[in-house]
Amino acid sequence: MMEHISAERTSLKIRLIKRLREDPSAQGIALISPTMIYLGIFMLIPLLLVVVLSLMTRGPYGNVVYRLNLANYLRLVDMLYLRILGYSLRTAAITTVACIFIGYPLAYYIARIPAKQRSLLLFLILIPFWTNFIIRIYAWIMILRTEGILNGILLNLGVIKLPLDILYTPLAVQIGMIYEFLPFMVLPLYTSLEKIEMAQLEAAADLGAPPGRAFWRITLPLSVPGMVAGSILVFIPAMGMFVVPDLMGGAKTILVGNLIRNQFLTARDWPFGSAASMLLLILTLLVTLVYTRKAGFGEELLI
């Protein structure tokens, strides 16, 4: 009996190995299955739970009442929440645009200097890129707060009489977000600009284009993939950001991220928080779809 079972097991093993060897798509499936299993358990199922949860309601003691309804979504359509959403979108958009404007000349400069200096400058951009962002935000808190460095200098110089109230305002949040995301824009832009061949610009000059026109008609359009990649890397995380508003925005500034966080941890209204998350997720997917339809999921994202 035992021999029979083990013989069967060996022959199954042999057949499996044979199948793997002969059928390339079986190999592919074997290689991708750890990923699918892991992400299936730890990403797809959790997301599914959130979807389900968003259709439930909060019980009186903060527990979940298992009754399907759309109450949470209807609640979201309230002006209060729509304003939060609108504010998040606006902040993310401003951040993205500002990063493009601030980052483009910098990326352009790095792309044009000789190769030796280039690696040094890239290295200098990478350090803040890899430094924990909470630290970098703290630096700005130090500068912007009422007893902070900025006010200290301005008061000492006599430029102002009373300290400026910058921290814990929407302005501070905006400053923080731009500072945080700038390297994410500069790097893909640089990658894209660096790929532009000198020969094309020379051809433009040869055909009579002055430097300004050449930039506008050739360099700029060719750098669009970098701008798109950078925009994805900035806009999407910026929409879901809650750390910067938390640290620099005070109680007055709430973005979608804060809303969700509060619902889960403070207000304990998990169903409502889930609904808000779904909203954020759908928006994110829409934006990604629009962007990638235009320029693909470029390798500019990888350095």
């Binding site: 798509s25 499936i29 400069y109 000789p114 350090i127 703290y138 991220g257 954020l280």
Partner: protein
């Protein structure tokens, strides 16, 4: 892009831009030596806060946790992610599109959403939040990044060397270990480095999957910034920046030498 020197205004702009990027960081470092506790005005130079840091049990514990999580999640996600990259780049199989989309969801999903979904999940299966849940979460978001990096490096891969290896007598496993793996190793290492850094730096997802006893360095820094603002935070930040500087510097030098 070109060998011509760029315009003067561009250079000035670049200098200003770098100043803008580094000034806050430099101020941060400078004020880590401030002897005034509330760190509002410069009082005097001292190493006191660095000493405090090295005795701060919470910080040390957080550092230990962060490193453990980073190592484990890097190793696991690199293995799984590399296999995924090989699968997607070299094979066609039923369910390919589904697999590819699933793989890239963690990249585009907002961290908040991923964080709360894992919180809900662990609550549902009754698993207590702690180091284990953080690690599981980190592996989940690291796998796609590793896969992306390795996939990009797989582009120029010449399958003929694998055929040559089998032609010379090596079976599929031997070929993978002795030929394929060494050839893709730079890409795999790059992916691993990315995974390690992402894990080290992560705040949001860790925030939702951490339990009471299991704090990590980013979480600790956050609460120090929020609640106990002494120059000790500056000292911690300065050390962190220094570490990044050293590690990046080393990897740059290694890359240069390879060329």
């Amino acid at each position: 892009m070109s060998e011509k020197k760029p315009a003067l205004w561009l250079r000035m702009y670049a200098i200003l831009a770098y100043a803008y990027i580094y000034l806050p960081i430099l101020l941060l470092i400078i004020f880590s030596f401030n002897s005034q506790k509330i760190n509002v005005r410069w009082e005097g130079f001292t190493f006191y806060w660095y000493g405090e840091l090295l005795h701060d049990q919470e910080v040390l514990l957080a550092t230990r946790n962060t490193l453990i999580i980073a190592f484990i999640s890097t190793i696991v996600s690199t293995v799984i992610g590399t296999f995924a990259a090989l699968a997607l780049q070299r094979y066609r199989f039923p369910g390919y599109t589904l697999a590819e989309s699933t793989l890239y969801i963690p990249v585009i999903i907002p961290e908040v959403v991923m964080g709360i979904s894992l919180l809900v999940f662990f609550a549902q299966i009754g698993m207590r939040l702690g180091l284990a849940t953080i690690t599981l979460a980190h592996i989940a978001f690291n796998i796609p990044f590793v896969a992306l990096v390795v996939r990009a490096r797989l582009h120029g891969f010449d399958k003929a060397i694998e055929e040559a290896s089998m032609d010379l007598g090596a079976n599929e496993v031997q070929t993978f270990i002795r030929v394929t793996l060494p050839t893709i190793m730079p890409g795999v290492l790059a992916g691993a480095m990315l995974a390690f850094t992402l894990s080290l730096d992560d705040y949001v997802i860790t925030y939702f999957t951490a339990g009471p006893g299991s704090t990590t360095l980013p979480l600790r820094v956050f609460s120090m910034v929020r609640f106990a603002v002494t120059p000790e935070v500056n000292a911690l930040s300065a050390l962190w920046i220094l570490t990044v500087f050293i590690v990046l510097g080393m990897s740059q030098m290694i890359q240069q030498r390879q060329k």
